[in-house]
Amino acid sequence: MVAMETSENSLQSSRFFDLVAWLGRLAVSLIVPICTFLVMWRGFIFLRDGAAPKLVMALVAIIWGVGGVAILFVVSNWLVERLSVRWRSYLLPFVFVGPGLAILTWYLFLPTVRTLYYGFFNRTSTKFVGFNNFIFALTDKAMLESFRNNLLWLIVGTSLSVIFGLLIAILADRSKFEKIAKSLIFLPQAISFVGAGVIWRFIYYYRPPGEEQIGLLNAIVVALGGEPLAWLTLRPWNTFFLIAIMVWLQTGFAMIILSAALKGVPEELLEAARIDGATEIQIFFGIIIPYIQGTIITVSTTILIATLKIFDIVFVMTNGLYGTEVMASQQYKQMFKYQDFGRGSAVAIILLITVIPVMFYNLRQFREREAF
């Protein structure tokens, strides 16, 4: 009897301790995230209003940003590991993929839907306007011009980049100076579109006839006995001069990838063809091109997409004047210059529609490649 009582007592007291422990754990589980949040918030306020020397601010900002994300993972993992096994195994995957999915949803998935929605409303998204924005986007004179230009960018820009890339890859493959040549061609890849714009403005620089030309292109023209030209205002050729900058930047990318593919063409195949008396040109079109076809398609698609979204070059070089507008610069103009979010959204949706084939291609590739 006595023994039973004590055991009941101890049972009760152990229940009591359980409760305390549970409460304690709950408190800790709450306090830790709250403290984390407070520290992060203080950091945010400091960064927003702080007046420390700029180097200090820069360091604090970097530590705050990177550290904050790391702490987020540590704390949420810590919280989930406190749970029972069943809950833990259920929630832990979401600690891992949750933040990524949340950001993806906020920054890409929902915006797609929302932009489509805004496209049917007026400039401030307060009044439904039906298809008006899309009709504008598909019929307006400036828009049609930007479609035409974008098409030129896509066709001329992409094909020239790929052709030059392939040509240089093949030449380099047969040269002793392969490494240095490839480095030189590849170098512009490290340069921003804005930086490239500055460099090329200097190439295209124009001064009236009779004055000394400091732009390379006009200096050459004058030295050959011609009249200097204002390249960037010369419709419709100016678009091609802008495309040249793109080709200059992208050829290195095409070359690097195509060069890797070329090295994969088996030497025996080429030797056999040579013994059969095929000319180099026949070998090139009959063997090499078919062999690296897949790579050519990949490279072309990548450059196509980059070209489709081209913005910086036009924005820096001509600001879309003189008939050089493209879709992305039109969208920017609609958003910020005219403050018309309806039309800006419609243009963005058209951009999206043009990449849908690539989206499906990516998905198909992925599904073919593995049983997920």
């Binding site: 950001i103 993806l104 920054y107 390379l216 992305a328 990449v355």
Partner: protein, 296 residues
Amino acid sequence: MSKKRQKLISDILVNGSLLLLCLIWTLPSLGMLVSSFRPRDDVLTTGWWKIDWSQLTLKNYDQVFSGKEIADASMPGGVAKGEDMSQAFLNSLVVTVPSTIIPILIAAFAAYGFAWMKFPGRKVFFIMVVAMLAVPLQIALIPILRDYTKLDLNGTFLAIWLAHTGFGLPLATYLLYNYISALPRDILESAFIDGASHFTIFTRLILQLSIPALASFAILQFMWVWNDLLVALVFIGSRPEVAVLTQRLMDMTGSRGQDWHLLMAGAFVTMSVPLFIFFMLQRYFVRGILAGSVKG
């Protein structure tokens, strides 16, 4: 003999055309580099190819970092200092470093989750990641701008970090998933038997094994963010306290159209960091570019 000659001719042809192409590709950058060392008057009066070696100077770089010298009689020495690029340089670093590390961290966690954990919706979510690879970021500008206006985030670094994270995340997750899911299964299984948690395995084991993939993506994303203009223009705005190098450089093309000497030095300053990475880490850089060619 004739075969030898043929070989010689083809060698000359190959190397000659290669040399010509390299020359064309290098000339623009060379012009910029030379001009950035020439004094103002020289840049404005003669072409850069007529270099006067004795005139080359570092003064342009000095002005780019300490402010343009403007003639002003009221100031000591007769010159006033204009805005400089050092703030923009710092801003670019503050924007780029977290915008590179944050997406990598988040994507690595997600990639591990997709590769090694079972949960409902795994397949659907990953298909969403793949579908988002090619989506042009233009689609997100207006909605996100509105969210930021509501949250009062416009013009803050946090705003642009998150934006770059969002836009870089599909590619990062996709690349890292490909890598992490291909790691040998038995490494993980033996770690599990030893009682390690997912978190420990991830931080101690997976992150270290994935360093090549992480580095490749890091370089790709770093270059992308450092060279970006559009996202910075939309979400940061042009306040000098926050404006990045590409924005400063763009402003200079407008307001300093005649200051070619400063513009060229400024352009070279913005390129210095990517060029440094390019030369130091070319192997990773190329690998990253090869891997990233699925991106939209």
